[in-house]
C-alpha cells in the first residue's frame, strides 16, 4: 500500500473489473498478518480471495476476531453471524468480546485495514456511505462511522459510476458524510484511486485510460 508516485498502470486491453475481480484485487493489497474488518455486503467477498497462509485476521464489529468463511449446512448457528447478520464460522485462535470492547478496538485504532462500500468518495477522502439524503429514506449508520474514524487504513470498494452514469468519486460529497477525510483509497471497477489532502492520484485503471476517466470525472486526476 505504498503511495510512492509511480505512474498509473492502465489496463485498457480489458473491460472494467467484475465484483469478484475487484474483491480479488483488493485482497492482493491487504498486508499479510493484518487485522481487517470487511464491513457488510460486497467487501465481505474479499475474504474469499485472501490466501489462507497470509494470516489475515478478520474482525466483525458484532464481537469477534478470527472470523472464518460463511457457514453452510450444519455449520449454520444463529448465535454466530457477521455484521451483515450472515452466518459465519470460527477459526482456531478466535476470540469473542462484547460490543463496547469491539468498538473500543475499532475507535482506538487497532485495526490495520477496513474496507467499506460507498455512495460517494470525495477527492480529499470524505466518505458518504450511510444515507442518500432522500427525505423518505430511513437513516441507518451501523458501525460505518466508527470504522471510518478508527481503522488505520480505510479502503472503499465501489463502482466508479452509478447506474445513471453519475461519478461516485466527486469533488465534494453531496450525500451526508460518514466521516471527513477518512478514506485512503477507493477501489472501483474502473480504477484504483489514492485520495486525501493532496487530492486524487490514479494508481490503476481498468477498461479505460486515465485520459478517458478525466473526461468522465469532475475531479483532478494525478497519475
Amino acid at each position: 500500500m505504498t503511495t510512492a508516485a509511480a505512474p498509473a498502470v492502465e489496463h485498457t486491453d480489458r473491460g472494467p473489473l467484475t465484483t469478484d475481480e475487484l474483491a480479488a484485487r483488493i485482497a492482493r493489497d491487504i498486508p499479510a498478518s493484518s487485522y481487517v474488518n470487511l464491513g457488510i455486503g460486497q467487501p465481505t467477498r474479499i475474504a474469499e480471495h485472501l490466501p489462507r497462509d497470509a494470516g489475515v485476521v478478520l474482525h466483525t464489529e458484532n464481537g469477534m476476531l478470527g472470523m472464518g468463511p460463511a457457514a453452510t449446512g450444519d455449520e449454520v448457528d444463529p448465535d454466530l453471524t457477521n455484521a451483515g447478520k450472515v452466518p459465519v464460522t470460527e477459526l482456531p485462535g478466535a476470540a469473542y468480546f462484547h460490543h463496547a470492547d469491539s468498538f473500543a478496538m475499532m475507535r482506538g485504532g487497532h485495526l490495520d485495514v477496513c474496507v467499506l462500500g460507498a455512495f460517494q468518495v470525495s477527492q480529499h477522502g470524505d466518505l458518504a456511505n450511510w444515507h442518500t439524503g432522500d427525505p423518505d429514506a430511513i437513516p441507518a449508520v451501523g458501525g460505518a462511522m466508527d470504522l471510518a474514524v478508527g481503522a488505520r487504513q480505510v479502503l472503499v470498494m465501489m463502482k466508479l459510476f452509478t447506474r445513471d452514469g453519475a461519478p461516485k468519486l466527486v469533488p465534494a460529497c453531496t450525500y451526508p458524510l460518514t466521516g471527513p477525510g477518512c478514506v485512503h483509497r477507493a477501489y472501483t471497477d474502473c480504477g484504483i484511486f489514492a485520495v486525501g489532502p493532496d487530492g486524487v492520484r490514479v494508481l490503476e485503471t481498468y477498461g479505460s485510460s486515465v485520459a478517458a476517466l478525466r473526461e468522465r470525472l469532475d475531479v483532478e486526476l494525478k497519475d
Binding site: E61, G63, D79, T81, H99, I138, G142
Partner: protein, 230 residues
C-alpha cells in the same frame, strides 16, 4: 442486591412501567431476548423508549413489540434492514421517533452510564449530521464530539448460561450488547438456556458478574430462523 430466579418471563417483567427506557440486547436475531419481549407485550407497558442495535426483524421480538404499538421512540444504530418492515411502516407513518446513533457510540454511551462516566469525547460522527448540535472540542489536534450516557430503566438480555449468583456467560456473537446493557439499567432481566449452581461457572470465564443481574428466567427452547443464511 441479590439475583432472583423468576418463575417465568411474565413475572420477570411485571413491574415495567409506561414510559420506561428499555435496553434490549441482540444484534439482529442473535442475542435477542424473545421470551422477555413477548412477556413485555403481554404485560402491556407502553410509551416505551427502546434502545437496541436494530429496530426489529420480521414479525418477532422487537418487531412484534413495535407492531403492538408500545414504542414511542427507538434509539438504535441500524433500523433499516431487509426485514424491518414493521419499523419502516411505523416510521414512515410518523408513529415512532428515531434517534440514530453510531453503533460504537451507542455501546459506549451505555457503558458510560454503567461506569459512572458523566460524558465523553469521541471522534466518531464529527463532521456528519449525527454530530449536529452537539458540543465539540479539539483534543490533540483532532475534533471530538461530546456524548452523554444512555441509562435504562430496564434491560432485557439473552445470555447462554447463568449460575444462581447471576453470573453470566454468553455464546459466540450472541454476546454483543448484553454485557454492556447489564451495567446500564436499574433493573436487569436476563433469559438464559440454563441455570447452574454457584460454582458451576469458572470464575475466570464469567462475562457479566452477578452484581449486575436482578432477575433470571429460563428461556423456552426455540428454533431460531437464521436471517441471511446463504
Amino acid at each position: 442486591m441479590t439475583t432472583t430466579i423468576a418463575v417465568g418471563p411474565d413475572e420477570a417483567v411485571a413491574d415495567v412501567e409506561d414510559g420506561s427506557t428499555v435496553l434490549v440486547g441482540g444484534f439482529g436475531l442473535a442475542g435477542m431476548p424473545f421470551d422477555l419481549i413477548d412477556a413485555l407485550i403481554r404485560q402491556g407497558a407502553g410509551d416505551l423508549t427502546i434502545v437496541s442495535n436494530n429496530a426489529g426483524n420480521g414479525d418477532v421480538g422487537l418487531a412484534a413489540l413495535l407492531k403492538a404499538g408500545r414504542v414511542r421512540k427507538v434509539i438504535c444504530s441500524f433500523p433499516r434492514q431487509s426485514d424491518s418492515y414493521v419499523f419502516d411502516d411505523l416510521y414512515r407513518a410518523g408513529r415512532v421517533e428515531l434517534e440514530v446513533v453510531p453503533q460504537g457510540t451507542l455501546a459506549e454511551r451505555m457503558r458510560a452510564a454503567g461506569a459512572g462516566i458523566g460524558a465523553f469525547y469521541s471522534p466518531v460522527g464529527v463532521g456528519t449530521p449525527l454530530a449536529e448540535g452537539k458540543e465539540t472540542r479539539e483534543i490533540d489536534g483532532r475534533v471530538h464530539v461530546l456524548e452523554f450516557p444512555i441509562q435504562g430503566d430496564v434491560a432485557l438480555i439473552s445470555a447462554h448460561r447463568a449460575d444462581t449468583m447471576g453470573n453470566l456467560v454468553y455464546r459466540k456473537t450472541a454476546r454483543n450488547f448484553g454485557p454492556v446493557m447489564a451495567t446500564a439499567a436499574r433493573t436487569v432481566v436476563v433469559q438464559v438456556t440454563e441455570i447452574v449452581p454457584a460454582g458451576g461457572i469458572d470464575p475466570e470465564t464469567v462475562v457479566t458478574p452477578g452484581i449486575y443481574v436482578d432477575r433470571l428466567v429460563r428461556a423456552k427452547a426455540r428454533r431460531l430462523t437464521v436471517q441471511g443464511a446463504r
